[in-house]
Symmetry: C2
Subunit: 459 residues, 2 copies
């Protein structure tokens, strides 16, 4: 049976596949900082070389931002289904660098409690994950070819809101449309149980800048008389939540439905400990809307968070300055039918309504996407679930997801494709944090899982 | 008459005195940042060399922080009064550097609207000001000697709250005690009218750090469930003022008296335009306690300001991080009998009362000093006021002051000395801001003013 040979090949080539992953992890493809522009391009070209090497028709496609990678390969049989695999080669910034135990771009293996882990920025998010699919394809190519027609789309702007994606999809609809999209950028349920994510929150990223005096002032000479933009900003931000932890923007909960009874029941039956989830990161009390579970907080409820704030003197020691400017980066996670543009309008109005005399607010948009969900009765979902369950020996969980993958909304709206989100990350992978890691087991069995999923989708 | 010769000498040596000032301005003596420790020591040694060169018995005195400079010179007549002159050679940090039009430590002269200005960090605060006194002493030394016994004390920690000063004064009481202290670190009333500052607000500088989760989290995976320390901090800070602009700390206004009727009348009679004062820095509406004048806001009322805030991702672009920590630098300006330690206790309790579960507050103290004031009937005050009025051709104003000079409280409490605060800065000198400047006229006529004041105090 061809699948057995493919799985054996994956096992035999594990060291080779790790070497290739490490090569990719060494490239500093941080997309949010223009200083790493060339590194992003380098990652794209490296991927094209890899894909071409195993028989894909692959190319780098320039955009206004970082380039896309597009690659095609035919299945052994002409009537096989056609999948579009999506991943992203860009990674998050590494600061605070001082908290890393090693160079974020010098990937290496560490062993902890019997588990081997790949440590590097991007090890899990998303280089390690996307390479599981590439390596599964490599194994098929070495044993007679792919069971599905495969198109691959890698982008380099996922971590900055995918600004070039909508136009790219619109311009290349016919080339990119497939029967179903496969995405590897999510987590397992736990270290032994795979998961397919069927709901994803949307994401609105907005920066607000408050300007007051025409220059920084001495707080001794002007303090008391001159308006302080930090005071204005902190007051606005503190109004964003009410005393019950709900978001206080007018109209924010429009389009948010309660969870269907059957899904709620499935979630309640999951082996999930709120105290373990929070305890893992040093916390004990859920901080979200009162009266709701932590799984609701992170999967099915919309949120607002301040991801960054800065104003005045923030160096060592003190400076009695009354600053001219203060700013904050605010993000909203959306669910259900919440409309990103309405949330933005409400936020802008909320800020402006709270501006005192002499203050000006400027907004910088870093992306806005709606929530998405996959129908539970999809045949692709059922086939993939069976394949995962066979690889891991336990039933795959159908999960909600807290993070956002904006492109999945575009796949649905612009190309009419559902997406299967299957990933092998773990909650403790420290993605977006110092010392990001990816389990060797995730990488190895993740590659095997994709081989099984591709095989199952073709039957 | 000796004074005329001294004044003529000051006029003739203006270029030489500017060259010396520029040498001092080139030294990057930023006291709040440990990276500039050696530069601070260099400034102290440069001053000792200058003072020794004109006949002072001068020395550098080490402290736990940056060194002091102490120098002594006898008057021509043994029964002359003894003055202690105080200034500080340390300067504020220069950020944001991008807003400077030239290197902050490359002093140079610019001409604007007929006025010549010295541009550099420290040009006004306080290197330019302290050199007016040194140059006045130099002129006397070249013409038969000083009219008063003079002790000079320069410190290098004024911009970081003078942490070494109390112990240094206690250990050197007998050496430093004089009949009256002279301090050159304040402003004129306007470009043509000198001022003696008779009231100074105290200053409490406190940093608050809020810690929540044990590491930075992904806001998609944890947002909603995990407490965000930025949200906690902004809520605390926004509670610090009530809707009328008053400080909401319990007990904050204890020890704050209304202004005496005669002083209030004098202030009302001053030629002061609130709209010009605020308009100069791009503002129009006073932001302090409602129902009070801007002069009250900046001279006689206590205030609270956030001088800096930081948390989460503050680089370019975005990062969907839920940070583990957020912090703010908060300062309180004190008046009357407000007690610094009570304000601190109240602030700590205020923060702790607002901490939700899983959050911890840590405080870092950067100094605390009470307000001080000079008796209006002091004979030194009257003599100095006459001398200033003769130099400038208009009556010197007796002013309040918004900034803080902590050492003046120590002079009063520990050495029993009143201080005459006479300075030649202007409100638009941009001290603590980019493009700090000092008027050439301030430097030149300031030097002449000190010659007249020293001469007047001796009669």
């Amino acid at each position: 049976m061809a699948l057995d040979k493919v799985l054996a090949q994956i096992d035999a080539d594990l060291d080779g596949s790790l070497e290739r992953l490490f090569d990719l992890l060494r490239i500093k493809s941080i997309s949010t900082n223009p200083a790493f522009r060339d590194d992003c391009a380098r990652a794209a070209h490296w991927l094209v070389a890899q894909l071409s090497g195993i028989g894909f028709d692959a190319s780098v496609r320039e955009t206004a931002g970082h380039p896309m990678v597009v690659a095609h390969a035919k299945a052994r049989q002409a009537d096989a289904p056609h999948v579009l695999f999506y991943g992203h080669y860009d990674v998050q910034p590494v600061d605070p660098l001082s908290l890393w135990h090693s160079d974020p771009f010098a990937p290496h293996m560490v062993e902890e409690g019997g588990d081997k882990r790949i440590v590097a920025r991007g090890a899990a998010d998303d280089k390690g994950q996307l390479m599981t699919f590439v390596e599964a394809c490599r194994a098929f190519m070495n044993h007679g070819g792919l069971p599905c027609h495969v198109t691959i789309l890698f982008e380099g702007e996922e971590e900055c809101g995918s600004p070039s994606m909508p136009a790219f999809l619109a311009a290349n609809k016919d080339e990119l449309r497939a029967d179903v999209a496969l995405v590897c950028d999510t987590n397992m349920w736990n270290r032994n149980t795979p998961a397919i994510t069927t709901m994803l929150r949307g994401l609105v990223l907005e920066e607000v800048v408050i300007d007051a005096a025409s220059r920084d002032l001495h707080s001794g000479l002007f303090g008391g008389a001159a308006i302080n933009p930090i005071r204005v900003l902190t007051r606005i931000l503190s109004d964003l939540h009410d005393d019950n932890g709900a978001v206080a923007l007018p109209g924010f909960y429009e389009g948010v439905e309660e969870l269907p009874a059957d899904v709620a029941a499935q979630w309640r039956a999951l082996d999930f400990s709120e105290s373990d989830f929070l305890g893992e990161v040093g916390l004990s009390v859920p901080a979200g809307e009162k009266g709701r579970s932590v799984l609701e907080h992170v999967w099915s409820r919309p949120t607002c968070d301040v991801n960054g704030i800065i104003g005045g003197y923030t160096g060592e020691g003190t400076k009695t300055v009354l600053p001219a400017r203060a700013s904050a980066k605010v993000s909203f996670r959306l669910v259900g039918e919440q409309e990103p543009h309405k949330i933005l309008e409400s936020f802008h109005a909320f800020v402006r309504a709270r501006l005192p005399a002499d203050c000006k607010a400027t907004f910088v948009s870093h992306g806005a996407s709606a929530a998405i969900s996959l129908p539970f009765d999809s045949s692709y979902l059922q086939k993939a679930r069976g394949a995962l369950s066979r690889e891991w020996g336990v039933e795959a969980v159908m999960a909600g997801g807290g993070g956002s993958i904006p492109v999945i909304g575009n796949f649905k709206r612009d190309l009419g494709m559902d997406a299967l989100m299957i990933g092998f990350g773990l909650d403790d992978d420290r993605i977006h944090s110092p010392n990001e890691k990816y389990e060797l087991k995730s990488f190895h069995k993740g590659t095997r899982s994709w081989a099984r999923v591709l095989d199952a989708l073709a039957h």
